[in-house]
Amino acid sequence: MAGFDKVVTTYEDAMSGLQDGMTVLAGGFGLCGIPENLIAEIKRLQTKNLTIVSNNCGVDGFGLGILLEDKQVSKMVSSYVGENALFEKQLLNGELDVELTPQGTLAEKMRAGGAGIPAFYTATGVGTPVAEGKDTRFFNGREYLLEESITGDFAIVKGWKADRYGNVIYRHTAQNFNPLAATAGKITVVEVEELVEVGELDPAHIHTPGIYVDRVIVGTFEKRIENRTTSE
């Protein structure tokens, strides 16, 4: 059992080995399903010159946005980076580089990276600024772009429940990019709301099998809502 026991008990251990200049893949869509405590630990560590791959970059003062406050991020790979004034400022004055990537292409880059596929063809982005400098090829009369996959030195993931073996399930739409990031990190760290006994999760319903996961930590989460809309 000890060989498969992925649980760590401190955030210091969870992010141990993170160094300046590394690439970090982060799960989450907007503020939904983000590994908020692992992000806070990266801020505490003051690691610099990071490349962050995440669909979005949080908001001012929460989520990945807090890593901008001390200029820890040198490059973001994202599909949408609105809602963040500090991000705009650092982008405009050249302190931050951004590689805007179509959302589906970004998801597939992580999926392919984790699956050992170095690149893939997609019709997304053909004839647009995204295609600049990329090889294209025709299949069955249609033009496709060659997109390279992404892997990271670290993947930081937010799950709902995990067991000690690192089997993870996600809750509702907090799944989003999390299982993809989980496959593509050299070191994959998952923080969850609840640790359950090995054998408790239905094997057929596991979203991220433990083989992808290196560390599991249990956290408490604020789960801030970005856009609260109700029927009332």
């Binding site: 503020l31 589906g104 292409t105 997609t122 019709a123 997304t124 907090a174 989003n176 979203h207 856009n227």
Partner: protein, 218 residues
């Protein structure tokens, strides 16, 4: 009279069919969900990983883990499914979504669409729009026919950086329903009380006007 936002949504809703899986973009496309005909089963796909999006929740049922692509809190209908972003875009890119409705800045006679970037203004990103227009066969673009300054948005060649190339066939503006065929906009329907001359004056790209162009009825 130009169509209201609700009238535009009502007109788009007439294109729905029973059993359709539909992706609705932000803005007017979102309103289409309010006009799904009674007795028709339509499932809404939200690109963050939800097939079967429901209404906004009651105050008591707000859940931070349950959002749509606009990051709004939502519910899921009975029979829905939830999955990863890669799975979501496999559906989109793989052509499994029956109808996609989205907004745009410009469309041209070659079916090109520009909807995400205005040079020298702040660029927020394309989100899922490039995947949606590349993956869908059946797309309806909704937008105003001309800018507030009177500049046409239906062009011979898009002036802004593209979201997708040669992928648009149907456009609903506040003045008209048009389809793109053989390098031209074909005027299919006009808004009630809007003259063909007004539509011609506000369409910069090549426009074909058939002998009879019916007025929409609401």
């Amino acid at each position: 009279m130009a169509l209201s936002r609700d009238q535009m949504a009502i007109r788009v809703a007439r294109e729905l069919q029973d059993g359709y899986y539909v992706n609705l973009g932000i803005g007017i496309p979102t309103l289409v969900a309010n006009f799904i005909p009674d007795g028709m089963d339509v499932m809404l796909q939200s690109e963050n990983g939800l097939l079967g999006m429901g209404m906004f929740p009651s105050e008591a049922n707000v859940d931070a883990d349950m959002i749509n692509a606009g990051k709004q809190t939502v519910t899921a209908v009975s029979g829905s499914s939830i999955f990863s972003s890669a799975e979501s875009f496999a559906m989109i890119r793989g052509g499994h979504v029956d109808l996609t409705v989205l907004g745009a800045f410009e469309v041209d006679v070659s079916g090109n669409i520009a909807s995400w970037m205005i040079p020298n203004k702040l660029i927020k990103g394309m989100g899922g729009a490039m995947d949606l227009v590349a993956g869908a066969d059946n797309i309806i673009v909704t937008m105003t026919h001309a800018s507030k300054g009177g500049d046409s948005k239906l062009l011979e060649v898009c002036s802004l950086p593209l979201t997708g190339k040669g992928c648009i066939k149907k456009v609903l503006t506040d003045l008209a329903w048009l389809e793109i065929e053989n390098g031209a906009f074909v005027l299919k329907e006009r808004a009630p009380g809007v003259s063909i001359e007004e539509i011609q004056a506000k369409t910069q790209g090549r426009l074909i006007v058939p002998d009879h162009v019916p007025e929409m009825v609401f």
